[in-house]
């Protein structure tokens, strides 16, 4: 029997679709495994007997479950202090940055604002040309901000990119038309901004809070430059001393009050490393999973603006 060419094409394309579907699904599953396995391994290693971890016996499930690693972590004062500091920086730094970003983004989004062009250029220049590490350090030093908790709330606190994203959100159609209506009704800029615009802009407010808070939580470099005292150090600096060396750091030795045998220390240190990774990352992962849409929205809004 002879098939018409259209029919054979249809059969060909449906077979092609099937193959395609299998291949793309397989690729996605592989991608998920590549991302998930290292994370899963960290979690099971943090609750397994470290002997098995060090010997490379651990693969798919925890062995000889023990929570001694976490018990040690909770007794580690520096780490707990860092935890507390980082929450402070994330909440207050995030709120401050988000508020200022929203304030400034509104004028930048107004087409007939006489300062729009000059201020936009004024801000954009800083994206491509910076004074650099040392001139900024000198400024911060002159202002007496070094070794104060405020330095991390303020320095690099406003990101131009976020300003652009927020102002492009304010420029979107449904908000624009509202703004025109408000103007006609003789609403002042303050009245419009605080009473109308902010209440309907929850998505961008949350997005900005989240981006700034996550950034504050994860940043370590500013603390490394501007803070010497342990009191104000954020979690990431404590972690850096614990993790970013192949050897066991002195911080862990200090922790071992009872001075057990060296091997025991190494065992404990190894397990603690996995535990602190879980502890440091978990809050951000929870925030991410609950607020995922806002993060995605924030990223795509920026790209649409280009």
């Amino acid at each position: 029997m002879k098939k018409t060419s259209a029919e054979s094409k249809k059969i060909k394309s449906s077979r092609e679709d099937l193959v395609f579907e299998i291949v793309t699904k397989a690729l996605l599953i592989v991608a998920c495994l590549i991302v998930l396995y290292p994370l899963y391994f960290i979690v099971i290693a943090s609750i397994s007997n470290p002997d098995y971890v060090i010997a490379g016996k651990l693969s798919l499930y925890p062995i000889d479950v023990t929570f001694s690693g976490y018990r040690r972590i909770f007794k580690f004062k520096n780490l707990m202090n860092g935890y507390k500091n980082s929450f402070f920086y994330a909440i207050f730094g995030g709120s401050l940055s988000a508020a200022l970003t929203l304030f400034a983004a509104y004028p930048l989004s107004k087409k007939d604002f006489s300062g729009r062009k000059p201020f936009t250029v004024f801000l954009l220049i800083t994206m491509f040309f910076q004074g650099g590490m040392i001139p900024l350090y000198i400024v911060v030093n002159r202002l007496g901000l070094r070794n104060t908790p405020y330095v991390l709330l303020i320095v690099n606190g406003i990101q131009v990119w976020n300003l652009l994203v927020t102002s492009s959100y304010f420029k979107s159609n449904h908000i624009e038309s509202l703004s025109e209506a408000a103007e006609i009704d003789g609403c002042s800029h303050f009245g419009y901004f605080f009473k109308i615009l902010l209440p309907i802009s929850k998505p961008i407010i949350i997005t900005m809070l989240l981006f700034y808070a996550v950034w504050q939580w994860n940043d370590f470099f500013r603390a490394m430059i501007y803070l010497d005292k342990p009191d104000y150090q954020p979690l990431q600096i404590v972690l850096k001393d614990l993790l970013a060396t192949a050897q066991v750091s002195s911080a862990i030795y200090d922790l071992m009050e009872d001075q057990e045998a060296l091997t025991e220390m190494l065992r404990a240190a190894e397990q603690m490393k996995y535990g602190v990774i879980v502890m440091a990352t978990l809050p951000m992962m929870v925030v991410y999973l609950i607020m995922q849409e806002y993060f995605v929205q924030g990223i795509t809004m920026g790209s649409v603006k280009g």
């Binding site: 395609f20 304030f103 004074g131 490393k273 990352t281």
Partner: protein, 324 residues
């Protein structure tokens, strides 16, 4: 009703007859309430003057013999001495080579992954799997750099790391990935791909989902295969995004991630891992040679800016895509 009135009113206010500059400013600033807009943007402007423009003024210490105890203007003017010293020093060729290689390696190996990943996501019919995969692959973006490098140390440790245990199992001697100079770039680029692919794919995926479905239907009627649809519909639709991302990356060639590199440095891998940013940090803040460090930093910024302008011009000519 009263809104109709105010429409005519605002229209009436628009200046037909010429006003003096002072009058126009007064009108905009007071009558139309623009002072409120200026007040809203004021904190951010002050912030940028202090933390961005004041440091720009401070760049002049690159041309002066500056010490932190005295004001900038009291420091002796030395011209291009520090730039000369840097260009003649043996560090310069090494830093330049390391920075450029690391940057281009990261750029050209790294950028196809999110693009291809977004295309595959877009082609997959099962929406649940797509959603799940996006959720999973975006997650590493939220892991801090400190933790990521910590994970690398744990996984790649020569005596207890899981990677070396696997290599041992197939008869390969343990490798000290985090210490050997020849491994630094590979570990850097691969771990970066692991952390960033899901995040970067979001942008391309958004561009793909905004493609008019009519295009696919028309292509199906014309008998296009799936690969042809990817080639003729998907890829062209993300080209503008792709060009923008590449342009931005080229403008940052010498700005390759300083913090990540600094964390991954070990004394033994410095021959490949010492780059502009890390050297600026060490010269400036570890050994306190402020002027010299600033000169190197400025040199880097100027080259970056030049590259950005050149690539932007080329792109304007070739693809009509540009940043400005």
């Amino acid at each position: 009703m009263h809104s109709k009135e105010s429409v005519t009113m605002t229209k009436g206010v628009k200046p037909k007859e010429k006003k003096t500059l002072a009058q126009r400013i007064k009108h905009k600033f007071i009558t139309r309430g623009e002072w409120q807009l200026y007040l809203l943007i004021l904190p951010v402007v002050i912030y940028f003057i202090i933390f961005h423009y004041a440091p720009m003024y401070g760049i002049q210490i690159a041309f002066r013999n500056y010490s932190i105890t005295k004001p900038i203007m009291d420091a002796k003017w030395v011209g291009l001495t520090y730039f000369e010293r840097f260009l003649k020093s043996p560090m310069f060729p090494q830093l330049f080579k390391n920075t450029v290689i690391l940057s281009f390696y990261d750029l050209f190996i790294g950028f196809p992954f999110p693009v291809l990943f977004a295309v595959v996501l877009n082609q997959t019919q099962s929406k649940r799997l797509v959603k799940f995969t996006q959720t999973v692959t975006f997650a590493p973006y939220f892991i801090s750099m400190v933790v990521l490098v910590g994970m690398l140390h744990l996984f790649l440790s020569p005596n207890s790391g899981i990677v070396n245990k696997l290599l041992e199992a197939i008869g390969i001697e343990p490798i000290y990935f985090m210490g050997e100079a020849k491994w630094f770039r590979h570990v850097y680029v691969l771990s970066h791909i692991w952390q960033r692919t899901g995040y970067q794919a979001i942008i391309y995926f958004a561009a793909l989902t905004s493609v008019d479905p009519g295009l696919y239907e028309a292509a199906t009627i014309d008998g296009a295969t799936r690969l042809e649809k990817i080639w003729y519909i998907d890829l062209p639709s993300i080209t503008p995004t792709l060009v923008t991302m590449l342009l931005l990356s080229v403008g940052r060639v010498l700005n390759v991630d300083t913090q990540r590199t600094l964390l991954m440095q070990a004394p033994t891998n410095l021959p490949t891992s010492e780059i502009f940013g890390t050297y600026v940090y060490k010269v400036g803040l570890v050994s306190a040679q402020f002027s010299y460090s600033t000169a190197i930093d400025l040199f880097k910024t100027v080259i970056n800016l030049t590259l950005l302008i050149i690539t932007n011009q080329i792109s304007k000519k070739l693809t009509e895509e540009s940043l400005w």
